[in-house]
């Protein structure tokens, strides 16, 4: 299971890089809706990365739950 999570983190990191390129493309071509949409996609990808990092055990849980 842990290896699946790690693969997920790697894939999402790759996607995040693509979304970051999309933001730059949107900005460079004045396509603001495209750029803004990619900002959203990037944040959502980050949220799933954080979730997977938590599942792997690299971050959290909160002090009270240890």
């Amino acid at each position: 299971m842990r290896s699946i999570y790690v693969v997920g983190i790697v894939v999402l990191s790759g996607l995040s890089l693509l979304f970051a390129v999309g933001i730059i493309y949107g900005e460079a071509t004045d396509q603001w809706f495209l750029g803004g949409g990619f900002v959203g996609a990037l944040l959502i990808a980050y949220s799933f990365i954080v979730l997977l990092l938590r599942q792997v055990g690299l971050i959290g849980p909160r002090k009270t739950e240890r």
């Binding site: 803004g36 900002v39 959203g40 979730l51 959290g60």
Partner: protein, 399 residues
Amino acid sequence: MSTVATGQASGRYARLMTSLLRGTLRLDVLVNKLYPTDFNPLYYTGGLSNLFLFTLVLSGIFLFFYYDASLGESFASVQYLTDRVPYGGIVRGVHRYAADGFIVGILLHLLRNWFTDRHLFARDNPWISGMFLLLFAGFIGFTGYQLVWDERAQLLTSMFVAMLRSIPAAGAALTRLFIGGVGISDGTLVRILFLHIGPATALYVFLWWHYVRQRHPKIWPPGVWVLFCVGLVFLLAGAVPVTRETIPAATPAASPTRFPMDVFFLIPFWLLNFLPAGVVVLLLVALFVGGLAIPYASRRETPVEMGVRHSGVAQVIDGNCTGCELCYYDCPYNAIVMVPSPGPGLSKAAANRSLLAVVIESRCVECGICIGACPFEALELPKFLERDVLRQVGEAVQA
């Protein structure tokens, strides 16, 4: 033998509430399998609403700088903001979708707290303030649609005026107050702008009221959900831009009869297709008053009828209390106070105490948090005794 072991909820309302409680808890268990418990979004419906409200405030401040509240310029200023200002359309979309998220968050929060009985007893205070938050949020969303001053706003305004006029005695005065004279003018847009921003400011007063009796309110969701929700509104703003609804500017000659619907804010206006304005107003008032009455209507249930949903006010077992204050700090509702101990406790740990915990009955919501906080078994819920819980756990494990 306690009700926990044998009691079954009786009465139709009690049975319904018990089944809703069980359904909600089952949903919690299901979501906890998908997410770690501290990431479960169902535990943060209030925090998520707060996050959307914060997003609304920030994006609203940006939009305010470009908005021109006048009949001739409001539509043009919104168009300029959307098409010409870098990322202006995105911010407008974020404002729009965060408003939907805010309403969804509030409704989820409301239903969850209703179904898990967190509106009863001393918790009526957050319930009542929450109903005002919902009312104001709905009204602010409606005035937001008016501010664009397109044909939809024009039609909404005329429908709202019809609703105001249908109110007996005060209708004419309220209409004059709303439109600022006998007809719609620049002053009307200024008033609508005030009715958008003023109640939005009041939301924070209601939030203060909402939190005032709670010691540890969860006002913010975990970081993972902040990222997801802010990301979602940005993604929606980019993928489904607000400009997809091409509604022309309002003009005195225009007589629009249809507009794109918003299920979160414009339902009352959709009802006007089938019902007279006065009946819709009456329905809205009845819904609001009915919502306010829910905690008190529920109190008509007797403890026997409430069955497993009633634990009884927490009681301090005097002999065991050491005066350690753990329950005092953990109680979310300030229902436990520490008083000077009139004498030593019976247990060895309590022999040298200087303080004694006392439960304020009117504030206790029977949540049982103090039971978990106390390491000395000095607190009990009378209908949910620790020995019964342990026995039930034992039976469940054996089964």
